[in-house]
């Protein structure tokens, strides 16, 4: 389709109008147009825009952060992603930057873990062999719980009295619980003062701000503190708490931080937003009353019993030794007994030595000293003591025996002596004198009975008379030799108590005789 002349005319008219409009525009808005073009260029050219934004970005970010935390939220995924990329590309950069912080954190964690471990070992050693721990182990086995858990529940050595949740920065108390019957009314002040003391310790005694108060201890009161990033959990404890309690504090504080992260950011002094932390604090109110007094009383009784038993044993051993020593002393001093050795075991005694047959039985003497003779065994060789008392006794016995063995023989059916029998009468005189001397030395009184006998031949009535005659014959002969009459008496035995039985000539001969019987008794015993 071609252009008509009318069209061309209209076009030239249009061009003319446009030029005029442009001219008018240039006249009216000349400067602004230049500026607009410059502005256009600034907006279109990314290099210029970047240059400009770089100048104001810092201030804009600062303003945005001051206004709200929207920017942080927007940046958070970007930063996270950027970190991921950076670590994937070159982990060394992040590692180098974190090293100083991580080193410190690891040191703290390791030191804390070691401290806890040492305390645990101490505590475990202390209780591992006790009766209580046996019971706990059994309970742990039967309930399927860990031994530590049972120990924590059953331990009677401590009681958590109060638990504070404290905002770290301000020292304000966020939540507070106390065991029934415990607690103070000034939790806010106690909490603030604890924070102040923590600051004081940190400032005054430690070079690094990162080191914090973990324990306050007096004789029977302990304050354990667990520091979280936002809040501190502090427990006041009576008695000796088990190390596991520290883990409980740490666990509950970590849970509080997890569940109440928003509340920490929002906190403006109104602690009611932390009411939900109460169950966590109550989980820390562990332990029971301190070890009951009864326990120590039983220990005292047991100790007293042991001491008493030891004293009694000591006493018995002492008494025992004393009796034994007295017994030995007696044996040593006893004439006719020589001790050459002895051996004492727990319940039995062996004594060896020499014993004069005339000396008393050493074993029987033990009874005089409270020692059962059954428990004493004697090994004694016989010997003759030279002690004078034994010599005299022995002389007496010898003389007595000799005199009693002697027979004065008579002729058949007669009170006439057999030939040479007067020698025997002389011998009797001599030995009676010796016997008398020995008896005097022993303080004894003696009496001699003259037993007259007859053999079994002949009539019994005749024999009785004959035996009497024979005894009187000897009596007369001895009186004639100057032996006192009160020392002698006669007994007619007839055929009773013959020296020998039988009817052979030699048996009958010894029965036609007189023998002597020596009787003695202590002087004055009559």
């Amino acid at each position: 389709m071609g252009s008509t002349p009318a069209d061309l005319k209209r076009d030239s008219q249009y061009d003319r109008d446009r030029d005029e409009l442009a001219e008018l525009r240039a006249l009216l808005l000349g400067q602004q147009i230049v500026e607009l073009q410059a502005l256009q260029q600034r907006l279109d050219d990314p290099n210029v825009r970047a240059e400009e934004i770089s100048q104001i970005l810092g201030k804009a970010v600062a303003l945005s952060i001051k206004r709200d935390s929207g920017l942080q939220r927007s940046f958070y995924p970007v930063v996270e992603q950027a970190l991921k990329v950076s670590i994937a590309k070159n982990p060394a950069i992040i590692a180098t930057s974190l090293a100083p912080i991580i080193g410190e954190a690891v040191r703290k964690a390791v030191a804390g873990a070691f401290r806890t471990m040492v305390e645990t070992i101490n505590f475990t050693l202390e209780r591992s062999l006790s009766w209580e721990s046996m019971k706990w182990r059994f309970e742990a086995l039967s309930t399927g719980k860990s031994f530590g858990e049972i120990a924590l529940l059953r331990s009677l050595r401590y009681k958590v009295q109060q638990v504070f949740l404290i905002q770290r920065q301000t020292g304000l108390v966020l939540q507070y619980v106390a065991a029934p019957g415990e607690g103070i009314s000034e939790a806010e002040l106690a909490s603030s003062m604890l924070t102040a003391i923590g600051d004081f310790v940190s400032d005054a005694f430690t070079a690094k701000q990162s080191q914090e108060l973990g324990v306050v201890q007096t004789d029977d009161f302990t304050l354990w503190v667990h520091h979280g990033p936002e809040a501190t959990l502090a427990a006041t404890i009576l008695g000796t708490p088990p190390p596991e309690l520290k883990n409980v504090l740490a666990r509950e504080n970590e849970l509080i931080h997890k569940e109440f992260a928003g509340a920490f950011a929002r906190f403006n002094g109104d602690s009611s937003i932390f009411d939900g932390t109460r169950p966590h604090l109550q989980n820390c109110l562990l332990g029971q009353t301190a070890r009951p007094q009864k326990q120590s009383w039983w220990w005292l009784v047991a100790l007293a019993a042991v001491i008493l038993a030891a004293v009694a044993l000591e006493f018995f051993v002492y008494r025992h030794n004393r009796h034994w020593n007295e017994y030995l002393t007696r044996l040593h001093s006893e004439p006719g007994i020589v001790i050459t050795g002895w051996k004492k075991s727990w319940s039995h005694y062996d004594i060896a030595g020499l014993r004069d047959p005339l000396a008393p039985d050493p074993v029987k003497l033990a009874a005089d000293y409270g020692i059962d003779p059954v428990r004493v065994t004697g090994h004694f060789e016989p010997y003759q003591s030279l002690d004078r008392r034994f010599a005299v006794q022995r002389a007496f016995d010898t003389e007595k025996q000799a005199l009693e063995q002697l027979l004065i023989l008579f002729q058949v059916n007669s009170s006439g002596l057999m030939p040479d029998q007067s020698v025997r009468l002389d011998w009797i005189e001599e030995h009676l004198d010796k016997l008398q001397q020995a008896a005097n030395a022993l303080g004894r009184k003696i009496h001699i009975k003259l037993y007259g006998r007859a053999d079994q031949t002949g009539a019994e009535s005749k024999n009785a008379a004959l035996s009497k005659e024979r005894a009187e014959h000897v009596l007369a002969a001895l009186l004639a030799r100057g032996i006192p009459a009160d020392l002698l008496s006669v007994v007619a035995l007839g055929t009773n108590e013959p020296i020998r039985h039988g009817s052979e000539a030699y048996q009958l001969e010894v029965n036609r005789s007189v023998s002597l019987k020596v009787e003695s008794q202590q002087s004055g015993d009559r």
């Binding site: 001051k66 206004r67 709200d68 935390s69 905002q167 770290r168 920065q169 301000t170 020292g171 304000l172 108390v173 000034e186 806010e188 002040l189 603030s192 003062m193 102040a196 003391i197 600051d199 004081f200 940190s202 400032d203 950011a265 929002r266 906190f267 403006n268 002094g269 109104d270 602690s271 009611s272």
Partner: protein
């Protein structure tokens, strides 16, 4: 309405009357020996400002002298503080200003009141009225007090608490964008 807790610090030279001002205002449980040992004594006082119950935890810090400086670490977490000066002793104002500077460096800007104490000894004042007016013109919130007579004591705690409550925390801003 729950009670709102706020930590407030008392700062100033040695002997300007910080402890006496607190003692005038509260009844505490800790003895004065804490001040000389730990360097801080803490008392509390509950008051009502507007429709809010506020529990003030007053950290009375040991006074500064030529030998020892105020432990500014105790300021950490405070919502505001008083700078106490002794009207009869001009040097205490200089000290207060230097403490203020250090406090701002340590914990940043926060509500602060300049307390000129010992108004009962007015005749012996070294700090003049024009000087106080100049300070007010500079933006200081100034209160004249007497721990002895009680003048201005209640008011100073109320005023600072109001300032603290007025200053909205960033967290509160967030809830009302």
């Amino acid at each position: 309405m729950a009670v709102i807790q706020k930590k407030i610090c008392m700062l100033g030279s040695f002997g300007v009357g910080k402890t006496s001002l607190v003692a005038r205002f509260v009844q505490g449980i800790f003895s004065g020996k804490y001040l000389s040992t730990v360097g801080v004594k803490i008392d509390k006082k509950q008051l009502r400002v507007g429709d809010k119950d506020v529990l003030l935890l007053l950290w009375d810090l040991a006074g500064e002298d030529s030998r020892s400086q105020v432990q500014t670490s105790y300021l950490k977490g405070a919502a505001g503080y008083f700078l106490v000066v002794d009207g009869t002793f001009a040097e205490s104002l200089v000290t207060a200003k230097s403490i203020h500077k250090r406090a701002v460096e340590t914990v940043g800007e926060m509500p602060v009141m300049l307390i000129v104490n010992k108004s009962d000894l007015w005749g012996r004042w070294e700090i003049t009225m024009p000087e106080l007016e100049r300070l007010q013109a500079e933006g200081w919130s100034v209160q004249v007090t007497s721990a002895k007579t009680g003048e201005g004591v209640e008011k100073m705690f109320h005023t600072l608490t109001e300032q603290i409550l007025k200053k909205k925390s960033p967290a509160e801003d967030e809830t009302t964008p």
